[in-house]
């Protein structure tokens, strides 16, 4: 047992050493830095208030549970499939993979955060400090194992349509709750941290340190149970996700674009990963907009539809990448327009849901009709234009659908790239809604006309650009997909050529431009418009009356300027100067 575990841990270390070069090292470094900051913050809580520390560990637990589901299936450096021919018994395989799972940045950082247990123990007494050491290890094992088990369960669920839908709904709800965490903090601020955080598995280590010795035993039992569950799940992880075998309606289209629409619609309904993404976006939008109801505010409810659109676009950010090398068929038929068909299909899947959601909820709250009706067409058009554009320009090579391993969430080897692309899409789609929103806030119904106009323009113009890109660079994109590697003239390599200062400035601008733009700018002006004053951290709502809109506007300008500066630094200087491509 020990030999297998040790060997696997060393394999993982070797793979990681090869993998951490260049851009991936950069991404991993940023992630690690953020992780260390969070860990330090958590340890600090141990000096302040143990209730808060318990709540902090609950957040870490959620991170471990949910992180992998959005990062392309989590850490799969060593895959169970690699060892299937060795004939290891499942328990030993699971133990070996577990040992390997402890090697890595995330477990190390989490261990750092768990030092808070030691701090808490030292403050309580010698015995408590001694208990803290095994508690830390067991608590970390619980985190890692829960993460593995949740990925395996969702992977299994994605083999049936019902499972895909249910897990999409759950994930959306939990992630929306995390995004709206300030509401819970606000609610807690009035009621105190709920005692429940102590009894979540994330609180057991702390309970043990505080003298409830049974909690230590409970942690150990939980580790054994999770290990057994994971071993059982590993044996069931075979083959790729199955599509449902029902409902084969013949294609009735008569044109090339119609054929693309028909193909895409079938893929949307048959690919369970896409089912999952769609219900995820829907659930996220609804829960995000509905959670302020907890504190008795329904003003966000009408935005469920717009949020759904933005989230759904982010999920489809790598549209061409997920189809893999099937792009060759598009290259062989240069006369037909693939992009327009995909746009139509995206709209016909998402627009009805978004429209029904928006109209129903806005009618319910009697909400700001001009703003909502301005956002709806602007965002729909913006998303329909950006989805093909971004996926053609910033393509992250995916694994061909028929070559994917047992983990259906893993559509690409480059999970960092996928996550980055999703965030880029979020920011850009929100930007496409900005002109209409501003027009609606300032001039009322004129915003709707603006929204229809910018939506139509984005859909048409971005689609055109995407089509040009496919026509001019199709073979290069296919090559990227075939080999999983980027050729030399992309934005990434341009990024590598920048000086360190330029890189830092560009990363800060692009990474944090959203903060002044969205919450401090756009959201704050929405709050001001609704007379929601002295609102958590939205600065403009604390200003004297005359300064509220100017402050929000200044933040919007600052955000736009940050994006502008970031893009200006990163953008290729002279298009002709790259290596020749004929």
């Amino acid at each position: 047992m020990a030999v297998v575990a040790l060997t696997m841990a060393r394999m993982k270390l070797a793979v990681l050493r090869h993998a951490f070069h260049g851009r991936r090292a950069h991404t991993a470094g940023t992630g690690a830095a953020l992780g260390v900051l969070s860990a330090l913050g958590t340890v600090y809580l141990a000096f302040v208030d143990l209730d808060l520390l318990a709540a902090g560990y609950a957040v870490w637990l959620l991170g471990w549970l949910l992180g992998p589901l959005f990062m392309g299936g989590g850490d799969e450096t060593l895959r169970p499939e690699y060892f299937s021919l060795l004939g290891l018994p499942p328990r030993r395989l699971a133990a070996g993979l577990l040992a390997a799972a402890f090697v890595g940045v995330a477990p190390l950082v989490s261990l750092g955060a768990l030092l808070g247990l030691l701090v808490a123990g030292l403050r309580l007494g010698v015995a408590n400090a001694l208990v803290a050491v095994p508690a830390m290890v067991l608590q970390l094992a619980v985190f890692v194992l829960l993460s593995k088990v949740s990925v395996a369960v969702v992977g299994l669920a994605l083999r049936t349509r019902l499972g895909a839908i249910v897990s999409g709904l759950l994930n959306g709800a939990v992630l929306a709750a995390l995004g709206q965490i300030w509401i819970f903090f606000w609610a807690f601020g009035q009621t105190g941290v709920p005692a429940a955080v102590w009894y979540l598995p994330s609180g057991w280590g702390l309970l043990a340190v505080r003298g409830r010795w049974w909690a230590l035993a409970a942690l150990a039992v939980l580790v054994l149970l999770l290990l057994a569950a994971w071993a059982a799940l590993l044996t069931r992880r075979v083959g790729a996700a199955r599509a449902s075998a029902r409902g084969r309606r013949p294609i009735t289209a008569g044109t090339a674009t119609g054929a693309v629409v028909a193909k895409e619609l079938r893929t949307w309904s048959r690919d369970l990963v896409r089912n999952h993404q769609l219900t995820f976006a829907l659930s996220y939008g609804l829960c995000f907009a509905a959670s302020p109801l907890i504190i008795g505010w329904d003003g966000m409810l009408p935005y469920a539809g717009p949020i759904f659109i933005v989230m759904a676009a982010a999920m489809a950010a790598n549209l061409y990448g997920t189809d893999g090398t099937a792009l060759w068929l598009t290259l062989m038929t240069p006369g037909a327009s693939d992009v327009r068909g995909r746009q139509l299909a995206w709209l016909s899947v998402h627009a009805p849901v978004a429209i029904v959601l928006t109209v129903a909820l806005t009618a319910l709250t009697g909400g700001p009709w001009p703003l909502i009706l301005a956002l709806l067409p602007a965002l729909l058009g913006g998303a329909a234009g950006l989805v093909p554009l971004i996926s053609a320009y910033a393509l992250v090579p995916g694994t061909d659908p028929h070559r994917r391993a047992g983990n259906p969430l893993r559509t690409s080897e480059d999970d960092g790239g996928l996550t980055g692309l999703a965030y880029l899409m979020l920011a850009l789609v929100i930007l496409t809604g900005a002109p209409a929103a501003l027009a609606a806030v300032w001039y009322g119904w004129a915003g709707v006309a603006t929204g229809v106009l910018t939506g139509a323009l984005c859909c048409w113009g971005f689609g055109l650009l995407a089509e040009r890109r496919l026509r001019a660079h199709g073979p290069e994109l296919l090559h990227v997909m075939r080999t999983g590697r980027k050729p030399h003239t992309t934005m990434k390599s341009r990024f590598d050529q920048l000086s360190k200062t330029q890189k830092t400035i560009a990363s800060w601008c692009l990474g944090f431009g959203a903060i002044p733009l969205v919450p401090q700018g756009i959201l704050a002006s929405v709050f001001v418009a609704n007379d929601m004053l002295r609102h958590s951290w939205f600065l403009a709502t604390y200003m004297p009356p005359g300064l509220r809109y100017p402050v929000a506007a200044a933040f919007i300008l600052l955000g736009l300027a940050m994006y502008g500066a970031g893009v200006w630094i990163v953008k290729p200087r002279s298009p002709g100067s790259g290596p020749s491509r004929d």
Binding site: T333, G335, P401
Partner: protein
């Protein structure tokens, strides 16, 4: 179509491709006469797949160009690509469609009329024995079934040139016989075919022209008889591509008792 009456079915001129410092295809010149059945043979990694990908416009060459019936693949892609049907090696399909849906989708993409597509799809599925799997999505197909649906998509729009990368790999003997009959009929009807294969007997049986590629270069090309020069194609092939005279080596630890 005036350019195409006397032009060769496929002409490669000085095609070269380097992958990260490795010269995969080294200035290949090749002419496939109209109406010929052309076999491309060569050891693993010789550059067959790379050359064929460049020939049909799926991979951009570093230098050189390719013409299909006189139409340049890169400057006149619409005309060139309408004349060719391609079976690439190991590329994906629209995976969540059934075989019939794939053919319908592609036929419409190629600009064929609806009823024509329906008729041809029906016939292709029946001949290639894929109609039993009416409800199966392509992602659930076996390796051989994937080859067959790929061949069907290459044939669907009745092209004048077929470029097939290892069409017989993983295909069962009955289907292989069917495919051979289809391909022979296609050539008899005036079509041209380029196929790559590792099976010398098959190439000898089917092809009238052969090219041997090795290390990214054309080692020999011409009619079948010119290339094999009185020997079997296999002997001629081994003579052309192996550098050592020592012949085939054995694994000592496997053959010793």
């Amino acid at each position: 179509m005036s350019a195409s009456t006397h032009a060769p079915a496929l002409r490669l001129v000085g095609l070269a491709k380097t992958f990260d410092h490795k010269l995969a295809v080294d200035h290949v010149d090749l002419e496939v006469p109209s109406g010929s059945f052309f076999g491309l043979v060569g050891p693993n990694g010789a550059g067959k797949t790379t050359s064929l990908s460049m020939a049909v416009g799926l991979l951009r060459p570093d230098t050189g160009h390719a013409e299909i019936f006189g139409h340049d693949v890169w400057s006149a892609p619409e005309r060139a690509k309408a004349l060719v049907g391609v079976l690439p090696d190991g590329l994906a399909m629209p995976e969540r469609l059934t075989g019939r849906e794939v053919l319908t989708y592609l036929g419409l993409l190629r600009g064929l009329a609806k009823d024509v597509v329906a008729r041809r799809a029906e016939e292709l599925l029946a001949v290639l024995e894929l109609d039993g799997a009416e409800k199966t999505l392509v992602i659930e197909y076996s390796t051989g079934m994937r080859k067959k649906i790929g061949l069907a998509t290459a044939l669907l729009h009745a092209p004048r040139l077929l470029v097939l990368d290892e069409p017989f790999e993983a295909v069962d003997p009955v289907s292989a016989a069917t495919i051979k009959t289809i391909l022979r009929g296609f050539v008899a009807g005036g079509g041209s075919i380029v196929l790559s294969s590792h099976v010398m007997a098959l190439v000898e049986q089917l092809c009238d022209h052969v090219a041997v590629v090795d290390k990214g270069r054309v080692a020999a090309t011409g009619t079948l008889d010119e290339v094999r020069g009185g020997r079997s194609l296999e002997d001629a092939f081994v003579g052309l591509v192996s550098d050592q005279v020592s012949g085939v080596k054995e694994l000592s630890w496997l053959s010793s008792p």
